[in-house]
Symmetry: C2
Amino acid sequence: MLKLSKKVEYGLIAIRHMASIESITTAKEISEHYKLPFDLLAKVMQKLSKNKIIASHQGIHGGYKLAKSADSISIMDIIQTIEGHIPGIVQCIDEGLEKCSIHQNCTIRNPLHKIQENLESVFNNLKVSELV
Amino acid sequence: MLKLSKKVEYGLIAIRHMASIESITTAKEISEHYKLPFDLLAKVMQKLSKNKIIASHQGIHGGYKLAKSADSISIMDIIQTIEGHIPGIVQCIDEGLEKCSIHQNCTIRNPLHKIQENLESVFNNLKVSELV
DNA sequence: AAACTAACGGACTTAAATAGTCGTATTATA
DNA sequence: TATAATACGACTATTTAAGTCCGTTAGTTT
């Protein structure tokens, strides 16, 4: 619980790697350098590419590089891209109050919502350029 | 990912409930009031009891109540009690650097550690008395 | 034009974590 | 002594995450 997924972890590593070099790089290169499972990493990078966080180039000397500056990419951008949405720390925040079995009687939603906001602001404010 | 477990959620609800009433209450009462699975809730309350966060009384008119004041119980206390340890957002923070496949080449551990600390301080500083 | 190598993408399998259940023992009280 | 509560271990089911496999598409180079 309260863990980042491996996909997000791999995404962060890949982005961090691309931020540290100028030239184009490939999924294979990164997977070998950091010993990450190629297929999974490749998919993560494809998602990052679809969301224009990194730019892809197909073909024999293709690969990826950052599509924008490292200080304009937040950790939140990466999480959101890979997970599809900003995860909520509890279901009623994640999927809405309706799906909550407790509903009216729930006494913890408001305070948890504040924790959620705090967490989100941390991820929003931390940029790839600060990943050092 | 980045979710609190149901056990922690149920624990928070139970603690919050006990903080709002003076008298002794039971796992059955809470499970019915909030429609939570009895067995699971009961186990959570047993853990809270073993860690002296709540006090238990067996026997026919037994039950639980807070063992200390609501402003001296942090959310972190509850999470730690129920989960056994403070969870880390990534494995190398949770279980130590040795178990990390990336090791030397890891470039994201330090920044993630800062996020971790931030998260922990939020949970540390939020007390049960503020669960409103 | 053919061969090569990289990204692209869907379907699938495996593994791990979480959630929930069941059975039984213990303990205090009316 | 019957009852109603906690205590606790073992088990099952469910869900989520992680990883794999297969084929396709697209630029490059020879």
